[in-house]
């Protein structure tokens, strides 16, 4: 039987359990899809297909015995920001281009414990810095979607662009992402898949290469809400090796999906209706409101008054932390080293050649905002505003149970349409950074196609550690939107 790539992760899992499908078949099909399509898409930085095929045989043996975890035999991709023992981990940077960690991140450890099979390491913006996946030292990633009547290569969004593309194109059944200011949600929206950034502290950051420690949070990206629920349950959990991870039980998220949202209050933040918001996005948002109302939810207008300070606050806080987090890439102990005559020259040469333009820009900005004489005006002020933004959400949740908003101000654009002004690129994050700054969970669900034919996403933002409500509401949205479109480039299409 030939594999059709129509199965969701949940369906594949059930078929494996029921022995209607073997892990070997499933993994083989996906490995072949990677080999067939990824030369063009470039969603993988490192492939571990041989290893995956071996693991598939072992998974079948486990399944034969009626044993196995939540993900036994399921082919996944891992964003190349998670350290994987014995497998090169690059952060899409030249400075780590040959780095093979002798350790495994907690998130991937958890997935492996549940039996997942990794096909490889997925492309991203260098050090997760970007929202186009064009800053990767291993080349840009192509969005498998096309605009109507155009063959132009589109960006997949970022920073988890490789993850979004691998899932959207059917190369894997799910992938890990990380989200610092929208890096799971925005590429999910651009590629027509579902992704959730859980509450800060829900997934351990141990072994995940840091961008901005107080914002970075791992989460799943998959074809639909149910698949994300399964993956998050496997990934999440307290980890004593991460002092910011939270000691809270991880619920069985999948069980919450059918519960509906009758009687729940949906907050619509008035500040998100900015003047620049396109009619198309506005219309999609209104459509989402109607769907939720039709499902029995109560719609309430809420205010998040400090929204307009979100972007500058985010870029100050994130870049300050990044400038410090990236100091360890100095050519002394691991990674790239460009030989030089003195220590200072070693730093300059290694970091000068090892980091790309966007990373250097962000290190410089972050260094600047922490500098003596500027600290109070930038970093300290941003921390204060961040507290106000958190308070905005806490106040809003007095009036509502979750929030509905667009994920991004537009759909995917062409590689050559990327603005040359970095600030214009940063504006992509306008709807995603507030939840990151507050640390609350947020999910993007594909809700329709733009007039140009590319996917658009709606974002659900929840209370601290209340991912369950997001899964319930996301499931409702997903059913109503009935988004069954496929991208042009897809493993299931004979190409």
């Amino acid at each position: 039987m030939s594999y059709h790539f129509d199965l969701t992760l949940a369906q594949a899992r059930d078929a494996l359990k029921a022995k209607k499908l073997s892990a070997v078949e499933l993994v083989k099909a996906h490995c072949e899809a990677v080999e067939r399509l990824d030369g063009r898409l470039n969603s993988f930085i490192t492939r571990t297909l041989d290893q995956a095929r071996e693991q598939a045989a072992a998974a079948d043996a486990t399944l034969q015995k009626g044993e196995g975890g939540l993900l036994t035999g399921i082919p996944l991709g891992v964003k190349d920001l998670f350290a994987t023992k014995g497998v090169r981990t690059t952060a899409a940077s030249h400075i780590l281009e040959n780095f093979v960690p002798p350790y495994e991140s907690t998130v991937t450890t958890n997935l492996l414990r549940e039996g997942a099979i990794f096909l490889g390491k997925l492309n991203l913006d260098e050090f997760a810095m970007g929202s186009t996946n064009l800053t990767s030292a291993f080349g840009g990633v192509e969005n498998p979607w096309k605009k109507k009547d155009s063959d132009a290569r589109l960006v997949p969004g970022g920073s988890s662009g490789g993850s979004a593309v691998a899932v959207a194109a059917g190369l894997v059944l799910g992938a890990t992402g990380t989200d610092t200011g929208g890096s799971i949600r925005q590429p999910s929206a651009y590629c027509g898949i579902t992704g959730i950034k859980p509450t800060y502290g829900r997934c351990s950051r141990f072994g995940t290469i840091a961008f901005a420690s107080s914002l970075d949070q791992a989460g799943p990206m998959a074809r639909n809400v149910q698949d994300c629920a399964i993956l998050l349950e496997a990934m999440a959990g307290f980890d004593p090796r991460d002092s910011t991870s939270v000691e809270k039980d991880v619920p069985h998220y999948e069980a919450t999906l059918g519960q509906g949202i009758k009687g729940l209050r949906v907050g619509i933040p008035k500040e998100y209706r900015t003047d620049g918001l396109s009619e198309e996005i506005q219309a999609l948002w209104d459509q989402g409101i109607s769907w939720l109302r039709a499902a029995g939810a109560e719609i309430v207008e809420i205010s998040l008054p400090h929204t307009k300070y979100g972007l500058p606050t985010y870029y100050i806080a994130a870049l300050a932390e990044a400038s410090s987090n990236l100091s360890r890439y100095d050519g002394v102990r691991f990674g790239k080293r460009v030989p030089a005559k003195s220590l200072d020259e070693l730093y300059e040469a290694t970091r000068g050649q090892g980091f790309g333009e966007e990373v250097k820009r962000r290190i410089l900005l972050g260094t600047y905002v922490l500098s003596s004489g500027y600290y109070d005006a930038y970093y300290l002020r941003a921390q204060k505003v961040r507290t106000l933004i958190k308070q905005d959400f806490l106040n809003a949740y007095e009036k509502c149970d979750f929030i509905l908003a667009p994920t991004a101000p537009s759909g995917a654009f062409a590689w050559d349409e990327k603005p040359t002004d970095p600030v214009q690129v940063y504006l992509n994050d306008i709807f995603t950074v507030p939840a990151s700054l507050a640390g609350v969970p947020a999910m993007s669900v594909p809700a329709g196609l733009s007039h140009e034919g590319v996917p658009l996403g709606l974002q659900l933002i929840g209370r601290y550690f209340d991912e369950e409500t997001l899964f319930r509401a996301g499931y409702v949205l997903e059913q109503a939107a009935a988004f069954h479109h496929r991208p042009t480039l897809h493993a299931g299409v004979s190409a």
Binding site: L96, D330, R333
Partner: protein, 485 residues
């Protein structure tokens, strides 16, 4: 004591000194990782992935290090801050793996406290403690192994340090030396730092400025990483003199960091204020603020050992010893313990004299420390017991102690083996005295003629005849009786 003053050409100068002491915390593992803190291991054998700052590694705070900082704060009679926070101090150096040191900048775990110092003339002074905070040590750069390359040893990277900052309260090199010694003593009593300056467990950054009487502070220089009390004293003397000469020649002292070269006997500039680092401190986002409970602080306080001041006061009271004796006997905790073990079951005065006299002399002579003393406290107590119960006299006891040091045998064994038991048999002593008197009839006549001093001669002759074993008091009594008969 008269104030310490530098005589310049323009008059007298006062020295103002403040110290930042870095004390390595006694703990099995590092401040934020599980790697061992053991000293002297092969390079790079006590390094975890966290210490080497591998990508994705995160610090996890070691609770024991926090407890040690709190204990130290309590020992310095300081305020314990229930809320404190770890910040990153950013700078690049090859032996600083993270590219930042995790330290406590804005909110240290310990606030204001005080250390009482005692000067050589017995005068006491309080030196204020500004703060104590926890921070990571860096690794070590080794430059002398290869002509073109440097090597890095990260064994020390991430080890917990306490930085203890004093107020600029010291006014002489002697006070600074006394402060470092006292601080070291307190830390060693508490068991929070081994105080081993040779191994780098304790080192001081010394801030020095000079001024004319009544003036505000002038510019200070910081002398980095001074690693002995002697060097602290020397560095201050030399630096203060240098500053006086600059001011008096019409120059200005620049605020800068300097190094002390004990071989050349000079301090020299390391870096000036202009090229001082901008450390870009900010709260470490990998760590939550540190919040501790008052009840936990209380339980640590209740379990604190007796500190030097308290011990001195108690020993003076319990054993009737002088201030000088108590200061010598409490210099180290195990000396005090040894002393008490001996003095408790013995005549305290006898114990004090013997420990401070013959026993310390024996340690010095053999080059041993109290930890590996050739004579145990129990053994010494037995010896003193033999004096008290008149089994032997003091002079014989000295001989016995020497034998104990040499052979490790017990006092009673030696007395037995050598037959040193004191003679208290009146008849035997009388017989011996009579022989002496008979043999020296001329001297007896002189004595009786009024030459009292000859009494000592007769005592000496008798003791000699009895090989020193006669009970001296009895010899005196009997001699008097027989001479006056």
């Amino acid at each position: 004591m008269s104030a310490y003053r530098i005589q310049g050409e323009t008059g007298e100068w006062e020295v103002v000194i403040g110290l930042e002491v870095h004390a390595q915390v006694v703990s099995r593992s590092k401040l934020f990782s599980g790697a061992s803190t053991e000293f002297g291991a092969e390079p790079n054998t006590h390094v975890s992935l966290v210490d080497a700052a591998f990508p994705g590694m995160l610090p996890v705070l070691n609770a024991e290090c926090v407890a040690q900082a709190v204990r130290t704060g309590l020992g310095l009679k300081a305020q314990i801050n229930l809320f404190s926070r770890f910040d990153r101090k950013n700078y690049f150096y090859a032996d600083l793996p993270q590219g930042y040191q995790i330290s406590q900048f804005e909110f240290p775990i310990v606030g204001k406290g005080v250390v009482e110092i005692e000067l050589s003339d017995g005068e006491k002074r309080d030196i204020g403690i500004t703060r104590l905070h926890l921070e990571q040590d860096a690794g070590k750069s080794i430059h002398d192994q290869d002509p073109t390359r440097s090597f890095i040893d990260l064994n020390r990277a991430g080890v917990a340090l306490m930085e203890i900052v004093s107020e600029p309260d010291m006014r002489s090199p002697e006070e600074a030396g006394a402060y470092v010694r006292k601080l070291r003593q307190i830390l060693r009593y508490l068991g929070t730092c081994d105080g081993n300056m040779e191994e780098g467990s304790m080192r001081a950054d010394v801030n020095v400025s000079v001024r004319k009487a009544g003036e505000d502070y002038r510019t200070r220089c910081e002398i980095k990483n001074v690693n002995s009390v002697r060097y602290v004293v020397q560095a201050i003397e030399i630096e203060a003199q240098r500053q006086v000469e600059i001011w008096e020649s019409g120059g200005t002292v620049d605020q800068e960091t300097r190094l002390f070269d004990h071989i050349k006997g000079e301090t020299r500039s390391m870096r000036s204020k202009e090229d001082a680092h901008d450390y870009r401190y900010f709260p470490d986002p990998d760590l939550l603020p540190l919040e501790i409970e008052q009840s936990w602080v209380d339980s640590l306080k209740a379990a604190l050992p007796e500190l030097p001041e308290e011990k001195r006061a108690r020993l003076e009271k319990e054993y009737g010893i002088s201030a000088y004796e108590s200061s010598v006997l409490t210099a180290e905790q195990n000396i005090a313990d040894f002393y008490e073990e001996v003095a408790k079951g013995a005549d305290a005065r006898l114990a004090t004299n013997w420990i401070m006299g013959d026993f310390f002399a024996a340690l010095n002579r053999t080059g041993r420390s109290i930890e590996d003393s050739p004579v145990s406290a129990k053994g010494l107590r037995e010896l003193l017991g033999l004096i008290s119960d008149s089994t032997i006299n003091g002079k014989i006891a000295k001989e016995v102690l020497e034998d104990m040091v040499e052979t490790g045998a017990s006092a009673s064994e030696i007395v037995e083996r050598k037959g040193l038991k004191q003679v208290t048999d009146t008849g035997a002593i009388e017989a011996s005295i009579q022989e002496i008197l008979d043999a020296n009839a001329d001297k007896v006549a002189e004595y009786k003629g009024g030459k009292d001093k000859l009494f000592g001669f007769f005592v000496g002759q008798t003791m000699k005849a009895m090989k020193g074993k006669a009970n001296p008091a009895m010899v005196n009594d009997l001699l008097k009786k027989l001479l006056d008969a």
